[in-house]
Symmetry: C2
Subunit: 203 residues, 2 copies
């Protein structure tokens, strides 16, 4: 298909598509002559993915590029691909980390028997988030944290079980899409659950 049809099928204006091409977020089409190129379904699909990552997952374009590179890189695991997206997670450098909170994170992981890869940013990120709550005088109790870990175990297991493993690139895209785009689903459901629990408790 030509650019005009790609625009129609993806619902995006031509200048936006050209911008994504220049920025390397969309693979080039097949050149036909000096100024025209031919596009296919893979382009439509990639454009939808870019929009979902920016609009729904809230990623900045530089993070989208990192995620796409990871999806396209056969050598990377999907954890690495997903990890390439900072997305809604605060990075460990966002706040001061209290050693006491690192200890709490380690204890929480130990209680669940969870292990982290040595390059994982999650231990520090979690400690930073807890440090922040603590500095506001609102540290969650261990019991509160354990409930969160239990809920996370529930959804994490389900996410991973549902992954299609037939094709590596396909699986990486699926994993990234599910991990990032199901985040808002979980957070919205949590707010709905809070409202309903609050109504039940207080009438």
């Amino acid at each position: 298909m030509w650019m005009s049809e790609l625009a129609a099928r993806s619902g995006l204006p031509v200048p936006t598509i050209k911008y994504y091409l220049r920025e390397g977020l969309l693979q080039p089409g097949e050149s036909v002559g000096a100024t025209r190129a031919h596009y296919d379904d893979a382009h439509v699909r990639r454009l939808r993915l870019v929009r979902a990552l920016t609009d729904v997952a809230g990623l900045r374009l530089e993070d989208v590029r990192r995620v796409l590179e990871a999806i396209d890189d056969e050598g990377l695991s999907w954890h690495a691909a997903v990890g390439a997206a900072h997305t809604r997670l605060p990075s460990p450098s966002d706040g001061a980390i209290d050693p006491e909170q690192l200890r709490r994170v380690d204890e929480l992981l130990a209680r669940r028997g969870w292990e982290l890869s040595p390059v994982s940013p999650h231990r520090e990120a979690l400690a930073a988030a807890l440090s922040s709550l603590d500095s506001l005088g609102r540290p969650p109790s261990d019991e509160h944290l354990d409930t969160y870990a239990e809920a996370a175990a529930l959804v994490g297991r389900k996410d991973v079980t549902g992954l299609d493993e037939t094709d590596r690139a396909e699986a990486a895209e699926h994993a990234v899409v599910s991990t990032l785009l199901l985040e808002p689903v979980l957070l919205i459901l949590r707010r709905i659950a809070q409202e309903n629990a609050s109504r039940e408790l207080r009438g």
Copy 2:
């Protein structure tokens, strides 16, 4: 305390504090003469809250202002205060909403017996998130959604039960802080759980 001590106690540079004062994110101090003002612990506390909302919860300053107004407004429920923060949630306008996905949301809510207030944006926001996953060919199954709702119910109930109700302003601040700042905690734990479930499944 003077501005210099407020800077030391909050860990923020004086120009940043002055910026927050001009933007109405920090209540004015008590004027002492024409150019000096006196600050107290409430100022230190408010500065920590502003930083937590921007750095950890990832709110833009205009959203922080809305949240603070809601916390300070005695007439608002804490749901309204929390609702004032778009934060990590996509707004319903972010994507096209497929009526089929609205129907799925309604069915999910009915299965759990959950109700939404008439002004709640969550029904549309959830449908928009699902529409986006669907347009990428990755709609979660009803079973997957039910697992998410179950996890959300678990944490939502815990969040609400832990709320201190003694003082309204205090309770509103606690609710906002917990709701927003525990979001990254839940999302980080989900990633850790995914990694561990993946290792278990695939060795």
